[in-house]
Symmetry: C2
Subunit: 403 residues, 2 copies
């Protein structure tokens, strides 16, 4: 029997997610990642937690800061989480910003600049960390920082001329789904944690509506049953390697951001859109032969440029566990309970490291570990604990509602 369809199964699943979060995943990062000397977190950790690199990801000062503060605000009001969030935010404030207010991508352990990148995801992650810590601390300065960083994100991502495009925009103008998606989830977090929010004359909800509209209008192609990653500014498909490239786990992450919005506001249109996006990208991404989710696919099933396209990554499995659970909770449809079971079982069979805890990040197609490290500049305490946190909360909330 599917655990989602009976009370005892649901209680056990919620307890399993909570326990994995609080007694496996978070202790790994608190113990091995925190920098007692310079503040902040170091995420390049080997299998056993030993340091592979002292360089710090600015993305992860924000992402981990958000996760720590959010656990403190919700499931686990534990001083250790509050302090860890404060440490990430102190480092971010002191060493994250270049003189123009843009955030770096990586800095040294001490905080000296290493890499600056074109895009502005550091700013979005800093915004959610500041917002969540503003709530945890009650300190309005963090709320101001959250609004400032998100305003910076919005200007750079959506005002023409701010961000240098990778590809010449006269020859081939292109837009990506990424900035819209991160816009949704960042606005959702700021709305949840700040008393008031308005940037560029729009509230968080108005920004979210705008982003969802653009995703539906430009990236979701019901006739082709697909969510694109990159299209022309008018939504036209670009028949090139990059234009045809699908990232099913990314689109499924986007689907749950939209489902979350639909559930929160009772917007049936958003729920329908999120479900259709999930349905079609599950079909595109799920590996029927070996299980798990392919990383990349081509919209026409042609070869993709990336030679590691068939590897199984931790993060898109986290997103798909959330999306399928949320789809089930919103609809009660047994199909989603079954999809959730498939991705949950495959993931928990292959990704966890029973010896040292946490998850491996990078598996071969058949589930064998390709690279044993637990973290790097892209993997740290974010996707996995967010999934465990979100799913625990969702199951407990739904069961409270049912009484």
């Amino acid at each position: 029997m599917n655990p989602l369809t009976h009370a005892e199964g649901r209680r056990q699943l919620a307890a399993f997610y909570r326990d994995t979060l609080l007694h496996d995943v978070m202790p790994f990062w608190l113990k091995h990642g925190m920098d007692a000397e310079h503040d902040g977190i170091m995420t390049a950790l080997d299998r056993d937690g030993s340091l592979l690199d002292t360089d710090k990801s600015i993305w992860f000062q924000g992402r981990a800061g958000w996760m720590f503060a959010t656990l403190f605000n919700t499931l686990a009001p534990d001083r250790a989480f509050f302090d860890a969030a404060g440490s990430c935010l102190a480092f971010l404030e002191k060493h994250g910003y270049a003189t123009d207010g843009k955030l770096f991508f990586t800095v040294t352990r001490e905080g000296k600049p290493l890499r600056m990148r074109r895009y502005v995801y550091s700013e979005a992650f800093s915004a959610i960390a500041n917002a969540s810590y503003a709530k945890a601390s009650g300190d309005e300065r963090y709320a101001d920082a959250a609004r400032r960083d998100f305003a910076f994100y919005l200007r750079h991502s959506f005002e023409p001329g701010f961000m240098t495009p990778k590809v010449d925009s006269t020859t081939r103008p292109m837009v990506g789904i990424g900035a819209l998606m991160i816009g949704i989830v960042t606005a959702q977090e700021l709305r949840a944690n700040l008393d008031h929010f308005e940037v560029g004359g729009r509230t968080a909800t108005e920004w979210i509506d705008l982003f969802i509209l653009d995703i539906q209008r430009l990236f979701f192609k019901p006739d082709l049953e697909v969510v694109m990653e990159t299209v022309a500014p008018d939504g036209r498909l670009l028949d090139h390697l990059e234009g045809r490239l699908l990232n099913p786990g990314h689109a499924i992450e986007c689907a749950w951001f939209i489902l979350h919005e639909g559930r929160l506001r009772g917007e049936k249109g958003y729920i329908q859109l999120g479900l259709r996006m999930l349905d079609c990208m599950w079909k595109r991404g799920w590996d029927q032969e070996m299980g798990g989710l392919f990383y990349y696919r081509d919209v026409d099933d042609k070869p993709v440029q990336e030679y590691w396209h068939d590897m199984k990554f931790w993060w898109n499995h986290n997103e798909t566990i959330i999306a399928t659970l949320l789809a089930h909770e919103v609809t009660g449809d047994a199909k989603y309970a079954e999809m959730h079971r498939q991705v949950h079982d495959w993931s928990f069979k292959h990704f966890p490291d029973p010896e040292y805890g946490e998850w491996y990040g990078y598996l071969h197609r058949d589930g064998r570990v390709s690279q044993q490290a637990k973290g790097n500049m892209f993997k740290g305490p974010f996707h996995l604990p967010r999934m465990l946190w979100y799913c625990t909360q969702l199951l407990e909330e739904q069961d409270e509602k049912r009484g």
Copy 2:
């Protein structure tokens, strides 16, 4: 018996390389890649030669132009090769250059700009194409273009302040082996094909000596038995993920550039250096369990950032076939004949596509094909035909010498 150790085996091997070059590999590209409408070559070809993307690699206008012209100048004075080289060079001249004289990375089929990158490898490949075509055509304008492009390459690569570093050079100054290696082989080609060569007050041979000196001084670590990819400007190891990263096939490519120089000039010091680089990086890179050459390793055998580190790529196998053959021809040491047999046999067992010709580019560790396309912006008629051409010539030259 190893084929390299007896006359009949050597004749058969030379004939096999020549035949594969002229009746399998080059016809694939001439038939499927050449753009009769706009000139130049399109390299993003699927398994059967059908087009995956019309975008053009500027690297490949130079690399393919060089290969075509070089075949015309040496093994195969066939009009088709001369014309194909001319087509690549016409496209390059018309559409390759930005207004500041720097070359693009990709352009559209018609030649409109798509991507410009920081570094200047397009310029080095354009230089060798122009030099080789200058010899083929007898037209001195191409010789001038070759000198101009190589001068641009040298200035951007080695004069401080020209190229924006990826990582902040105040915080962590780093130097890579790549620009020196490409400097050697580009200077070798210009010396071989141009009547006179002098850039920045140095002849080609003087530039080569300078580059080899720096490689020996900074990147080759005899105590650790390793060739590094990235070090501090004083040669110090950088104990970070990027600093520890080894690319055995790349270092082995560098080894044969140095062996080639040593053989040509009878410089025993260069021959010794090349052999030691080959020996230690073979040990680091050869997969004892499944055969073939790993892509990346860590100098301390720690996990590397790249999750696809254990894949088998076509190009480093091509470089290792050349290096081991050259090491054998220079030394007569049976050890190298054996290494050559290993890498030759593994490569020709797994990479060729017997149905449509040419080689696959990207295999899983065990030799299964991961991505079936024959080309993209990084794979085209260069590493594989260069290996077949170099090895054919080397075997035939050595046997002529022996009489």
